[in-house]
Subunit: 115 residues, 2 copies
């Protein structure tokens, strides 16, 4: 049985109720899911290109994530490889502020326990 894709409305890892937010967290809480969305934000990438951008992802996992993200309507394969769908772009828009926030978070962490 192949890996299950979390679909809102159906029980998923971590939620019998299948609440959409839990299905989403299940989907995004898998290795490289967030990273893939992030890398695809600037435009379509081929499988290999994506693999290169994500330095340490194995083709096995990348392929699994791409299938899941496709089944969830966030990513689709087009002319220029894999790209975000409209929904994927919406989600990325929500994700984008994480970039700058991560910067200040890093600064804070360095300040509090470095040296």
């Amino acid at each position: 049985m192949p890996a299950q894709v979390p679909i809102p409305g159906q029980p998923v890892r971590g939620s019998k109720s299948g609440k959409p937010i839990m299905a989403l967290f299940d989907l995004l809480g898998r290795s490289w899911a967030l990273g893939v969305l992030w890398q695809l934000s600037e435009g379509g990438l081929t499988f290999r290109a994506l693999q290169d951008r994500c330095e340490m992802v194995s083709p096995t996992v990348l392929n699994r994530r791409l299938k899941e993200l496709s089944a969830s309507g966030l990513v689709a394969r087009g002319e220029d490889g894999y790209a975000l769908t409209e929904a994927g772009q919406e989600l990325y828009a929500l994700l984008r502020p994480f970039g700058p926030w991560a910067q200040s978070w890093a600064a804070m962490l360095n300040g509090m326990d470095r040296d």
Copy 2:
């Protein structure tokens, strides 16, 4: 060797460069990390209460996530159990819009391939 906590600036799962966003994605891309932040948004919860809210989390994993999130300065233990730190609340603020978005995403998915 205990589980490694992704710290920005140091190589993490998925990034030799240790880019903050990658460290963050590594941290959040683990089972229940997002769910825990979500559940703690409304106030502090004891370990057991948190465990109940997250219906299907084992104490093993919950404890691991809490340690990681604590080490990352997003969660801390206080009077009333575990609670979001200031940084955790900032991150939650970025996360909150995912709730409504997940709703419309669910609606879209049901519309496109159900029946």
